[in-house]
Amino acid sequence: MGNNRIQRPKTPELDMNPMVDMAFLLVTFFLLATTFKTADPARVVVPKSVSNVELPENKVISITLSRDGRAFMGLGDVEARSRWLEKVAGIYQIELSDIDREVFSSLSGFGVPSSELNNFLRLPSDQRNQMQQPGIPIDSTLNELGDWLVMARVVLPRSRVVIKADRLTPYKYVDEIINTLTKNNILRFNLITESKRLDNGE
């Protein structure tokens, strides 16, 4: 009976409070520092450059260019997307329902010809995400990208055009995009890169 006093508790107890403090501190940090990855329609590895100009957050018209030359477009401003679709649908006379517009507004980028846009928006979302999108046509005869671009400028005046191309994209595809831009009088645009340190060769 005398050893009752030194009897150990059945489970060792740890003070979890500092751990909770730390974990929530980190959560708060990540919560504030985070900008969510947007799902790209194609996997793109951007090249590295020594530039340290940061990408402006909003008012961005983005053109994504995959390694095999497929072009995708997207608007940074979610509210403007349905108006954008409306304008382009007017040109190509695409019949769209309210659900289609809603689906389109939720997409950060897309890459289908206008003729397939209807079917594309009506696919179940998992199929749409997995689908290999053919890209927006940029041929000289049928330059749909140009039309999307002009309308994007209409709904989002004074926006920036950014080109996000894969590092291994052949220049001819980049050239097509740049030509489309200059033809539509967009002479100032940005190329997205990842930063790297200056190599001085020392």
Binding site: M19, L26, T34, V46, S49, K172, L187, L191
Partner: protein
Amino acid sequence: MENEFYNPIKEGRSAKFKQKASITTDMNAMVDLAFLLLTFFMLTTTMVKPKVIELVMPVPDDEDTEETVVQTIRESRALTIMALPDNELYYYTGFSEAEAIETAYGPDGIRSVLIDHNESQDDPIVIIKAHPESIFENIIDLIDEMNITRMERYAFDEFGDKEFELLSDIGVNL
């Protein structure tokens, strides 16, 4: 004095209801939750913010005026860089008696060429001609070199017959 510390629970009930000195809550669940959130944010977050290179293209002019623009540039001022597939790089100076010279990307190659050109010419101009099959990264590397060497005037132009000719003169056939 006794009244001041009067405690009805202590007084009225038996020792069964004796209060504990401090309340301990099981924090394990909270830790679980916190780390779950932490993992989620760590995985979804993108830490590296993308950087951009700003390009300003010249106002496109008519086909027939282009020739005159080229001719008004004093020949020695112009340095033309040709980016070829497989990271090959050639350059030539001037227009009429030009000869393609091989170089490479990086500080010992094109950068030193650009620095020399920048120092030897006043108001130098660089024309970048990229072969259709050269990759986008090569172009970015060249723009980088322009920024590093503070080349203020550079332009992009089409990879034309003249370039193919100059290259085949020195035995490079594409």
